[in-house]
């Protein structure tokens, strides 16, 4: 059976539009060294390195892990590179966690990054492919119709998206690492921002960020560091095809199945009551109500009501994205890992100003592709 796995170190870089002060090796090393310092370890204590990032075209470097081996202290160690689209930061953490759970290794360093300023993600996502529908407007253009479908299906009023945009940016003001620090953010400011992909306005979309995230995962007999460990209570991945007749892109089956699997492992029957907070991949404002339903925090069609009620705010009963989330910082390949990492920080009590008081169990979530790849974990302060 699987061994226990704990998060014993977390580290992230400051997330910015452009990190021109560091190279890619410098960027990933910054996050890795912070995670090691948090665990009170050095590279010498690490058995294996698992790195993830979104498409290589985002920086124009093919299989960059090969040239990052030395910067991450991986020389003479096993090193793996994960790529599962937008969910990759989460999947990468899970691949690393399985190296512990399987008993293969005792301490694993996992890192994810994106240096979006090195290239243009919109362009990289829009390369024409034979016989494939062109994705000419990047991810927002792809997801906006699904948001429209959700609004029509649920009858949600227009202002819900703006509420999420404001809530997450206000949370980001409490997170020193967050990319966007919009002091004056309010509903009016969002409403007056330019329409990008109807119904999404500029301030309802995630930024493009440079940044990296890192975690040290450990077996039970290898726990170290000043903060208590975050124990992995459940982990799961699910994928479904991009296109087929009848596929529900608004409320994808893979997301529901993945959540059910991770809740079963963690013994969660009512996620809103049993979890203390959630860090969920919300790159566009409306994905909060959509994922509230997909992840079972409320019945279908009710997600927007939960958002509207303030339940997901930092002082609500089930805070979502206390860190500011993807809406405030989006180093794509690292965005999923940041969700997993922030969930761990919360249950370790090290989230500072954006700490959810008394958080003992949290969900980390990432999704990617055309809402088809899902990675989730539940971490808790109690040993499972």
């Amino acid at each position: 059976m699987a061994d226990r796995c704990a998060v014993i170190g977390v580290g992230q870089t400051h997330l910015r539009a452009k990190r021109e002060d560091v190279s890619i090796p410098g960027l990933v090393r910054e996050a890795a060294l912070r995670a090691l310092a948090d665990a009170e370890l050095t590279f010498a204590d690490i058995d294996a390195v698992v790195i993830g990032k979104a498409p290589d075209m985002f920086e124009g470097v093919m299989m960059p892990e090969l040239s990052l081996a030395a910067a991450l202290g991986a020389v003479s160690k096993p090193m793996m590179r994960v790529h599962t689209a937008g969910s990759v930061g989460g999947s990468t953490a899970l691949v690393a966690a399985h190296l512990i759970a399987s008993g293969i290794h005792r301490r694993v360093l996992t890192v994810a990054y994106e240096k979006q300023s090195d290239s243009d993600a919109m362009w990289a996502l829009s390369v024409p492919q034979p016989f494939a529908a062109p994705l000419l407007a990047g991810a927002g253009g792809y997801f906006a119709p699904h948001i429209r479908a959700y609004m029509r299906r649920s009858g949600a009023p227009d202002h819900i998206g703006r509420m999420v945009a404001v809530k997450d940016r206000r949370n980001a003001l409490k997170n020193p690492y967050a990319h966007l620090h919009l002091e004056d953010i309010d509903m009016k400011m969002v409403e007056e921002s330019i329409m990008l992909w109807d119904p999404l306005r500029y301030l309802e979309a995630c930024p493009s960020s440079d940044g990296a995230a890192a975690m040290v995962l450990a077996a039970e007999d290898a726990v170290s560091g000043a903060y208590p460990p975050a124990w992995v209570h459940g982990m799961a991945m699910r994928s479904e095809p991009t296109m087929f007749a009848g596929r529900d892109q608004v409320n994808p089956q893979a997301g529901r199945d993945c959540a059910a699997d991770v809740y079963r492992q963690a013994g969660i029957t009512d996620p809103r009551a049993d979890l203390d907070m959630a860090e969920v991949y919300v790159p566009f404002s409306w994905y909060e109500p959509m994922w509230l339903e997909n992840l079972g925090f409320c019945p279908e069609g009710e997600g927007w009501k939960l958002t509207e009620s303030g339940a997901t705010a930092l002082d609500g009963d089930i805070p979502w994205n206390a860190s500011g989330g993807v809406l405030s910082s989006n180093p794509i390949g690292a965005s999923g890992m940041l969700r997993f990492l922030e969930a761990a920080m919360q249950v370790r009590g090290q989230a500072g100003e954006h700490q959810v008081e008394g958080a003992r169990r949290a969900l980390g979530h990432a999704y990617g592709g055309g809402s088809q790849f899902f990675a989730m974990w539940v971490v808790g302060s109690d040993k499972p």
Partner: protein, 380 residues
């Protein structure tokens, strides 16, 4: 470093399929190349996708020239209802490793692993240059042949190999490939004839280079009784490990492979006799380095291995690359997984009892995986 872990659960390679390796697959895209391979890997053992609890693949976007090439490739399997699934931007051998790790935990009993590499849409030499350090190496556009030539030159300068050794390795692999129906390059030519070829990049002549290949491969892994039910003589993975070296070729001794030696030690290559090795040495000049690091080289040293024109290695019992290896077909991201599949095939047939399969990635054998396959699982 932790002590070498023992596989806690018997997991075996129970099925393997590969596409016909060709220089240019114009008629079918990646998904269409994979579909018959995935169908075959299931049909071989009479199962369907519903019988595997995990799917993992290996590929790289840069061959396709678009992001997310693995996304549409998943349509070759048809993951509905949704499945636990993952992807590495690595050779499929590492996807197999990820699946093997998951199977160790005991929740899942079988996994599908596949990979694909279609090099023909682009200029492979230019594409592979983009795999190098973007600050110090890639701007010089060193192509893989030139980097391998530097390594070959280092071998010759160190007195570890001769150009004739490279030709012997190429001759033996391509001759073996005559009995591999999926091989792209197979012929029976003498060392003397090969040495008459022009240099491509000295000291490498045409014969020392791998072909450029479009290909795909798939493997099914299964644990314990499931493996026994699906396969009469499963190829049990008794050890598997992988290691990486620093990227900068100038910071390495290119004539040796400490990463292979370490992976081999931790996979337990030396724990018993080896009668078959399938090694992923794309360039003929690299086979000796790999065999030496695996501890399978003869007393004559790395370069001497292929030189006898027969089996490279320590004694008449060792067969090296009966498939023809990567010199017979070198589909990117796939040739490593194929080595594991080819080795397993010979365990199933009874031609081998204990085999070593090897996969490589990166310039000049930077990253390596070693897998030991055994017809017997001790105590199972």
């Amino acid at each position: 470093m932790s002590p070498a872990p023992r596989a806690r659960r018997p997991v075996a390679v129970v099925s393997f399929a590969q596409a016909h390796n060709v220089r240019r697959e114009d008629e079918r895209n990646e998904v269409e190349m994979l579909m018959p391979v995935v169908a075959e890997v299931f049909a071989n053992i009479g199962i369907t996708k519903d019988d595997v609890g995990f799917i993992c693949s290996g590929s790289t976007d840069y061959l396709v020239g678009g992001p997310f090439s693995f996304v549409t490739a998943l349509d070759a399997v048809g993951v509905w209802p949704p499945r636990p699934e993952s992807h590495v931007e690595m050779d499929g051998a590492w996807a197999l490793y990820e699946a093997w790790v998951l199977l160790q935990e005991g929740e899942v009993d079988a996994a599908l692993v596949y990979s694909f590499g279609r090099s023909s849409p682009g200029n492979l030499a230019e594409v592979m240059a983009l795999q190098l350090d973007p600050y110090t190496l890639a701007p010089l556009w060193p192509d893989p042949v030139s980097l391998a030539a530097l390594q070959a030159r280092a071998l010759i300068d160190a007195g570890k190999a001769t150009e004739a050794d490279f030709a012997s390795v190429a001759a033996r692999n391509r001759k073996a490939a005559l009995s591999n129906p999926k091989a792209q390059v197979a012929h029976d030519r003498s060392v003397e004839e090969l040495l008459g070829e022009e240099y491509v990049v000295a000291p490498l002549r045409r014969h020392a280079l791998p072909p450029i290949t479009d290909g795909a491969a798939a493997v099914v892994l299964a644990a314990g009784d499931t493996a026994r039910r699906w396969c009469e003589r499963p190829a049990w993975i008794t050890g598997i490990d992988h290691r990486i070296e620093t990227h900068a070729p100038g910071a390495r001794d290119l004539t040796v492979s400490p990463s292979i030696a370490l992976a081999a030690e931790r996979a337990g290559v030396g724990d018993g006799p080896v009668d078959l090795a399938e090694v992923h040495a794309p360039f003929a000049s690299q086979e000796g380095i790999v065999l030496e690091a695996l501890g399978l080289a003869g007393a004559g040293g790395a370069g001497g291995n292929g030189g006898n024109g027969g089996n490279g290695g320590n004694g008449a019992g060792l067969s090296v690359n009966p498939s023809g290896g990567a010199l017979a077909a070198n589909p990117m991201m796939t040739a490593g997984l194929t080595r594991i599949g080819e080795a397993a095939t010979r365990i199933w047939s009874g031609d081998a009892n204990r085999a070593v399969a090897h996969a490589t990635s990166g310039p000049c054998l930077q990253q390596n995986l070693v897998c030991v396959l055994d017809a017997a699982w001790e105590g199972a």
